[in-house]
């Protein structure tokens, strides 16, 4: 509570200093958010991520601490602004659409009661435009129960943004979606946050969410922030096992090429069908969901990234012949080091790829520094996203 704590970035939109004790759990977190910034709050289950969001949204009060937005004090000793007066939105993993209202009325509700304060007739018209933005043109009359989980979550996103929040809090918004739907939702959140210029905090334990959506990452562990910085910096030098486990993946940053990801050195990484659809321009994707999202037309130089686990990389000394869709390439061994699940093999390329295999396999293959090896990864093991 010393004044020094408050000398954070002058341009901060949201600043919070939160202390809370519940039983044996203690939360002590300071964080700030710049206008238009997206912060990913990473952490294992039980680290207090959702509690932080509740405290920011005014759904719970801290024991001590303050929350300010644009200089206005929302939470402070002796002051507590009710959630409906904070203009802080919340989108959780459960869409929580009002079950008695149609999709259109759900969004219109936010337009009537939110920042816009539209009349009922205006709100209905505007709600249809929002549904169109999330690719649900023509679904306005549907009751939530008639929509799929992914569609419901898109309505919930439209509703949350239509309220005009100064900050949108996202609590694992992809967690309840299946692997086919999640990439589209992620892409949609990214686009809509950018289009509306909405500042956001996203709670997640999926590294892909952080890489795709966030400018900055904060890592929460046992109620305290243990690491913070730009997404790239935190992942490049993880400071705790949780982040290391998250970051211990092969990340290929490149560009979209025919539904695959091209690495800087020209290697092509074929990816899971669901993710490939999200990479591909709208016309050729899955009809209902892909048409929903404007993916930038036929632009082939769209930045994208592929992610796969070191354990998914198969190492051989002969060129493999497989019928199944695989990524196969040859490389030189540039490093052999102990890893958490066996031996980590560093291989040449831009970027370098790490393979993980058992010590016995290393011996069997007779691998040494400088050996030439054939590496392969099943396309189904590679997830991908546009950046």
């Amino acid at each position: 509570m010393t004044p020094a704590l408050w000398k954070s970035a002058a341009n901060a939109l949201l600043e919070a200093n939160l202390q809370l004790t519940r039983g044996s759990f203690t939360l002590d977190v300071q964080l700030s958010l710049a206008p238009g910034e997206v912060l990913a709050l990473l952490g294992p289950n039980g680290s207090g991520k959702s509690t932080v969001l509740d405290l920011l949204a005014g759904l719970a009060a801290p024991d001590h601490g303050t929350v300010t937005i644009d200089g206005a004090v929302l939470t402070a000793p002796g002051r507590f602004v009710a959630p409906e007066r904070r203009a802080i939105g919340l989108l959780g993993q459960d869409p929580l659409l009002f079950p008695h209202l149609s999709a259109r009325s759900n969004v219109a509700f936010a337009l009537c009661v939110g920042e816009a304060q539209l009349s009922a007739a205006q709100a209905r018209k505007e709600a249809d435009r929002w549904l169109d933005r999330v690719g649900l043109n023509g679904f306005g009359g549907s009751k939530p129960a008639a929509l799929s989980g992914g569609q419901q979550q898109r309505v919930a996103l439209a509703r949350a943004l239509a309220a005009g929040p100064r900050v949108l809090l996202l609590d694992e918004p992809m967690a309840a979606l299946d692997a086919e739907t999640a990439p589209f939702m992620r892409q949609l959140i990214r686009e809509q946050l950018a289009e509306t210029g909405t500042s956001a905090i996203i709670v997640t334990h999926d590294i892909v969410d952080a890489v795709v959506l966030a400018d900055r990452v904060a890592v929460l562990h046992d109620g305290a922030l243990i690491d913070e910085g730009t997404t790239a910096a935190v992942l490049a030098a993880p400071r705790n096992p949780f982040v290391a486990a998250l970051a211990g993946v092969n990340l290929v940053v490149g560009s979209v090429q025919n539904g695959a990801v091209a690495a800087p050195d020209g290697r092509i990484f074929h990816v899971r069908p669901a993710d490939a659809a999200a990479l591909t321009p709208a016309s050729s994707g899955t009809p209902a969901s892909a048409s929903a999202i404007t993916l930038g037309g036929a632009d082939q130089n769209v930045p994208a990234a592929a992610v796969f686990r070191p354990a998914s990389v198969v190492v051989q000394t002969e060129q493999p012949r497989h019928a199944s869709p695989r990524n196969v390439w040859s490389a030189r061994v540039t490093g052999i080091e102990p890893g958490s699940g066996g031996v980590r093999l560093r291989t040449s390329g831009d970027p370098e790829v790490i393979a993980e295999l058992t010590p016995a396999a290393v011996a069997d293959l007779g691998l040494q520094l400088g050996s030439t090896v054939w590496l392969s990864v099943k396309a189904t093991e590679v997830s991908a996203f546009r950046r």
């Binding site: 919340l90 459960d94 009002f98 008695h100 509700f109 009661v113 309220a163």
Partner: protein, 260 residues
């Protein structure tokens, strides 16, 4: 997947509920029924019953829904105490309720004394009928709505708040529609309870034709005064059953149309 043994007590239970009503139907003197039902002795209590039960039900809604909200959103311990207090009239014999109402609002009652001095007399008036009916019917509404509110939870209300909706708006546009089925069930239950109310009314409101003689009291009067024949009592009972069935059917179709 029902154990076969369960069918035996289930059948006996159903028979216990249905056979007396069937017996009643067998006792009806059908030729004289129209005349009995259209007589002032039948129509007057019916009108009074429908009117007082309707007013009581409206009172139950106006007082019971807010009470249910307060209980459902209270801390667990306070909610437990409030819920117990609301349940007492439900488990109390209605006669005791009548005595309790008299002790409070009767001529020598704690509050009745004061009211009497102010020129206001409640016992043995139509107002007393409404108060007695509300007293016994209110717990049904509160408990039905409170249960629905707790099942619905606060998650939708919290989302509505983060969208910027003020409490009044959330209550009217989210909370009430969400508990719609519970509200409907509670309303029907309290109306039925008010319509059938006898004990508390008899003690607190008396049995004056046209003023406090509702259907149950008229049935009792007919049954007691009939001597050899109970035709009038049976006919009035049939009328009351018919009213109850009509209400259940109306509510049933409404509910079906809401769901579809």
């Amino acid at each position: 997947m029902i154990p076969r043994l369960l069918y035996v007590p289930a059948s006996i239970g159903l028979a216990l509920l249905v056979l007396p009503l069937a017996g009643l139907l067998l006792k009806v003197d059908w030729p004289s029924l129209p005349a009995l039902l259209l007589s002032p002795e039948a129509l007057q209590p019916l009108g009074l019953s429908l009117a007082t039960a309707s007013v009581s039900t409206v009172l139950c809604l106006l007082l019971g829904v807010p009470l249910a909200v307060v209980i459902a959103r209270s801390r667990p311990r306070l909610a437990g105490v409030l819920r117990a207090l609301v349940t007492v009239p439900l488990v109390l014999p209605p006669l005791v309720g009548g005595i309790a109402l008299l002790s409070l609002l009767g001529r020598n009652g704690v509050l009745g004394n004061t009211l009497e001095l102010a020129g206001l007399r409640i016992p043995f008036t139509t107002t007393a009928v409404v108060i007695a009916q509300t007293f016994v019917a209110l717990p049904f509404l509160v408990i039905a709505v409170e249960g629905a509110l707790r099942t619905a939870g606060v998650r939708y209300e919290r989302v509505a708040a983060t969208l910027g909706a003020h409490r009044g708006t959330v209550f009217a546009r989210i909370t009430l529609p969400l508990v719609g089925p519970g509200l409907l069930a509670g309303t029907v239950l309290s109306f039925a309870r008010a319509l059938g109310e006898f004990g508390a009314t008899a003690l607190f409101a008396g049995n004056q034709a046209g003023v406090t003689r509702t259907m149950p009291l008229a049935i009792y009067t007919a049954f007691n005064g009939s001597g050899v024949t109970t035709d009038q009592a049976v006919a009035l009972s049939l009328l009351l059953i018919a009213v109850a069935v009509i209400i259940l059917v109306l509510v049933g179709t409404r509910r079906a149309s809401v769901l579809s």
